[in-house]
Symmetry: C2
Subunit: 651 residues, 2 copies
């Protein structure tokens, strides 16, 4: 049965003339044990919520997963799909792509990400089990990693978090083949992996990855542990290849016809490419149905719950927001309009969380050790601990990357809407995972505070400059920078309503005035809107700003008005949403033919999209500096006076 | 003496009403031992090349460093500077900024970066010692880290690399205070740090950080080890604060006048703020001169070398490129012009390296386990190993972030010009360090291959889309994307000639034709230039492209010409350099008034800067896909026909 994986992998890679045969050949035995004897799944019901999760963190070995899905009978994965490996439009992309086929639990390839996702999935299991009971949620998460995954820094964050939270239903299968792309791992790495996992609070085991009995015994032991377990599986990369086995030559290139013929001989597999003998296929298909009875029993348990509970579970797993979840939020907005507080948007964000945390049972927040600064913890949220997962707040530690990858896992698992905070500048630390949130279309909310030089004294290392532009450049990601408490509430609502994309909320450290005078419609939903019209309705100037600079734009508008120059202020919290508006609305907002001046305490990179080549940008041209915020705004001339100066120079 | 640090720190933070007093107060004893008894330095000669390096990786404790520099007599650090802590234009920024004052060896604050830099500095020491001998290069690198540094993923990459290379002259002082921002470290972390370092091949020691004798003994032991050493110093954060010591309350906020008064009483320090008693100051000043004699002896040893060696050492340490280093490069370019090869720019890049590796003795290359794909290893380069640092090539392992941080350390140390490779998409993994290269103005060359969908089958996880825009948004970073072998050579030369900024070379996986017909002048130095003029000299259309899309632009130009539409092709390998050109040159190249169409197999984010709102962009609008490169170019319509279509629609 393992050889079926090996030859499908070899042959598909050969046919595509591109791919990674070595890992599937090496880990075929381990995978066979897992999928035949342990993994709780039903290939005919890939969306069964309580299935075990299998994450192929070493995503280059995608043919291992595709072979398994085909062999075990997933309908989405035909022989034709395998033959189309790495071709345009196929389900079988070079690396597993979430959404391409059922059974692909997450997109992997960028190393270490899958491990971080698996930690999130194992967290989701614990969180949901504590909310709905073990009769509905009780599964394992298996994750296959390679040396590359374990060399990446994110692996440290992921395993430390998993060890700290004692995620004992997380089992990592380490493909300990001693080979990386440049050659033997000894060329680059001498880390004692088991010892390292033990230092992080893990149980570890070590087995011959080609001895199915030993592998089975190890998984059995792992399932009984009260700690997460790492099983180091000693394997031969490219197992079965007559001359290349055990060498980096099998890692990332087709083996060649001759070598594959030799493997056929060596492994006693006389079958043509893509031909699986009936008895082998039958055995695999039986394995694919091994969870069917359990799934049926699970259905019965769900059906036995009272209808309200059943609906709550199903809705939450489907990611539906409960009816009326915005009630407290609406009230909050009305109060803001009435009281016009001066508040940092990070503080407003916390108030929003206080309004919604109880209304959204799937909401699970956290911060990378900046809870008090990010204002990410709602008053009612209790910390999640190894002993108690009933809380809704995760202290992720100083692990921005691990947090983001775990949030992807939480979202992918279903049942949880994750959000997490750090400083906006440290989106750089978790950028690979943010990209994957966007690529996988996951609702993950990044609460990124201290969003400009306005953070002041911490200086240029902590002041984002290029980050808004860098994030806006990522496809399928909403970057939202609200200007006051009302917009903060609106942006939060939008972020939570997105079913198929992540959001970044860029929030200030410093206090901002309330600028919005009404709260009826969610103006942020349009991405940009006219916040203040020209007094006489005939604007000569359009000032476009986001976040903390909207107030400066309003101040400039007043000054211009005094000088007899009509100006409108456009608040533009979200470029991406604005780009989705019809052209006539965009024109209405932007006022073609007027002088455009944009303000943002950040790099102007990208702003020509809105101000053209004739307009002007007031913002940063280089890195920030360490000083009180007010001094910095003056120093970098992000002021109403500078706007007036630019207008006078242009008109 | 340690109390002098404590009160300078407390008082400066209080005066600034912003900052982090807890760490300096906790680590004052350890730092005092280090700077009085061990660190080899002369405060009057901060640029002595063979000084020990001290890196404050926990950069928020900047007042520890500023206090030490002032107390030991660095001229750049007056009492006035300390009083101006965190004020505009001061040397004493919120976090230590490289270049603000002598004695600040690197910019820290983003956690874990300093540790990565320290690894690079310790590597530089070994590399230079093997080139120039231990009589000229023989120093230690000390690095102070906190829990935050050690939670960050980059710490794993850094310590694994250091352990692998047996950097025994690297000594890490861990401020083991059990406190992080959210509260006790137990809230988020249970990693056994010593065990973890041991797993990575380190020697570890554990001491009471408030027992100077024990600390001294540990450092002594560490210096004798044949492995890098981590000394866990158990300390009390905010040591001396009467009610807040040992609590996260001392971490990131002023203690308040009352608490400071209590500390004065408790620690028996009756002096006014910023007043250091003469005896204490004398003792500190004596410590600051402790390396003076050694420095003089070192001078004598350098003077004893023959003049050629002496010059070579001094030039290399000063970062000067040897005369005539481009000779082989010029020859290579002439051959290219003569032979017009079709080659991937990553392959051309390797040929360039073959031309220059021997001519530049300070050049040290490497790759994050993609040597064969990045083509980063010149034929003559031997691998650097724990046993032998005479080579010029580092197998960094799958550690993009650790590699980039180490390269910053290599550059900061002096004597080394580092370059390193990975896939362009994985700039995301090392982005925080790339940002610091730019902020610190370091000559680091990032060789980033597989720079678009042109990499083909590996699919969207490996295909950069937003990365060029994201990198261009970083201030003080050259992003260069050459279109053929000539431009590759030119860009390499430019990257190496930058004394005060890093460069990213974005290189193709796929083969490209030679487009340049001459090699006399370095056209890339202008950032952009007219590669092909309109045949009749009267262009209606200007096609602007970079890298692999320049060939498509040339093809489109020919098609347009056939249709009677005159078009010029602008090759734009580097936006940043082009922006530095005089306006008349830019106009000459861009041809205002012509129809502008830009081509780049990447996000169009930012391109309005060149095509305005009337022009058009041919490129990516979302993520890529897995398929052969040709199929992807067609699928995403990055073709000459699409250019023609756009021109016809616009004209």
């Amino acid at each position: 049965m393992a050889n079926a994986i090996r030859f499908l992998s070899m042959d598909a890679v050969q046919r595509a003339n591109s791919g990674h045969p070595g890992m599937p050949m090496g880990m075929a035995d381990v995978a066979t044990v897992l999928f035949r004897q342990f993994l709780k799944y039903d290939s005919q019901r890939p969306d069964w919520p309580d299935r075990d999760r299998f994450v192929l963190s070493a995503g280059h070995g995608s043919m291992l997963l595709y072979s398994l899905l085909h062999l075990t009978g997933y309908k989405d994965m035909t022989l034709e799909d395998l033959k189309n490996f790495r071709q345009l439009g196929s389900r079988t992309a070079g690396h597993p792509e979430y959404g391409h086929a059922a059974g692909i639990e997450t997109t992997t390839g960028p190393l270490g990400q899958g491990l971080g996702n698996a930690v999130g999935m194992a967290m989701a299991e614990r969180l949901l089990a504590s909310r709905f009971g073990a009769d509905l949620v009780d599964h394992y998460t298996y994750c296959l990693v390679g040396d590359g995954c374990l060399m990446e820094g994110i692996s440290h964050e992921a395993i430390a978090l998993a060890g700290h939270l004692k995620l004992n239903k997380l089992i990592v299968l380490f493909d300990d083949n001693g080979i990386s792309i440049d050659g033997p791992v000894t060329l680059t790495d001498t880390v004692d992996q088991p010892k390292r996992f033990e230092a992080a609070g893990w149980n570890t085991l070590s087995v011959d990855g080609h001895d199915p009995k030993a592998v089975a015994q190890a998984i059995e032991q792992a399932k009984g542990s009260d700690l997460p377990t790492m099983i180091a599986c000693r394997t031969t990369i490219g197992f079965g290849a007559p001359t290349k086995a055990g060498s980096e030559k099998t890692h990332g290139a087709p083996l060649g016809d001759e070598e594959i013929a030799g493997a056929r001989e060596k492994l006693g597999w006389p079958h043509e490419p893509f031909v699986i003998p009936a008895d082998v296929l039958d055995a695999w298909r039986a394995a694919g149905a091994r969870g069917a009875a359990e799934a049926t029993a699970w259905d019965a348990r769900l059906a036995a719950r009272d209808p309200e509970q059943r609906k709550r579970f199903s809705d939450q797993m489907a990611g539906k927001l409960p009816e009326g979840w915005t009630a407290a939020l609406e009230k909050f907005k009305e109060e803001v309009v009435a009281n016009k507080p001066k508040a940092a948007t990070r503080v407003s964000s916390q108030q929003v969380l206080d309004c919604i945390a109880d209304a959204l049972p799937g909401l699970v927040g956290g911060s990378a050790d900046l809870t008090g600064s990010n204002n990410t913890r709602a008053k009612s949220q209790q910390p999640v601990t190894a002993e108690d997962f009933s809380g809704g707040y995760v202290h992720y530690g100083v692990r921005e990357h691990g947090m983001a990858a775990a949030m992807n896992g939480l979202a992918l698992h279903g049942g949880i809407i994750p959000y997490g905070g750090t400083f906006l500048v440290f989106t750089d630390y978790c950028r690979p995972s943010i990209r994957l949130s966007a690529l996988m279309k996951q609702r993950v909310v990044y609460v990124m505070t201290h969003d400009s030089i306005g953070l002041g004294e911490d200086g240029p290392t902590h002041q984002p400059v290029e980050h808004l532009a860098s994030l806006r450049a990522i496809p399928n990601l909403l970057v939202m920078r609200p200007c006051d408490a009302i917009e903060t509430a609106e942006c939060w609502q939008l972020a939570l309503e997105q079913q198929d994309r992540p959001s970044v909320l860029a929030l200030t450290r410093q206090g901002l005035p309330t600028l919005r005078v009404d709260s009826g419609e969610n103006y942020c939903a349009h991405g940009a809107y006219i916040l203040q019209t020209a007094e006489d309705g005939q604007r000569a100037v359009t000032l476009i700003a986001s976040g903390s600079e909207v107030a400066i734009a309003c101040e400039a508008r007043a000054k211009l008005q005094e000088m007899g120059i009509s100006a409108a202020v456009v608040s533009m919290p979200c470029w991406e949403l604005f780009l989705e508006q019809p052209a006539h609305y965009r024109d209405e907002v932007l006022g073609p033919g007027t002088l455009h001046i944009a303000l943002e305490a950040a790099s102007g990179f990208g702003w020509n999209r809105w101000v053209g080549l004739e307009g002007s940008f007031v913002g940063m041209t280089g890195f920030g500096a360490s000083a009180p915020a007010d001094a910095l705004y003056k120093e970098f001339r992000i002021t109403a006076d500078e706007v007036v100066r630019r207008v006078k120079a242009a008109l």
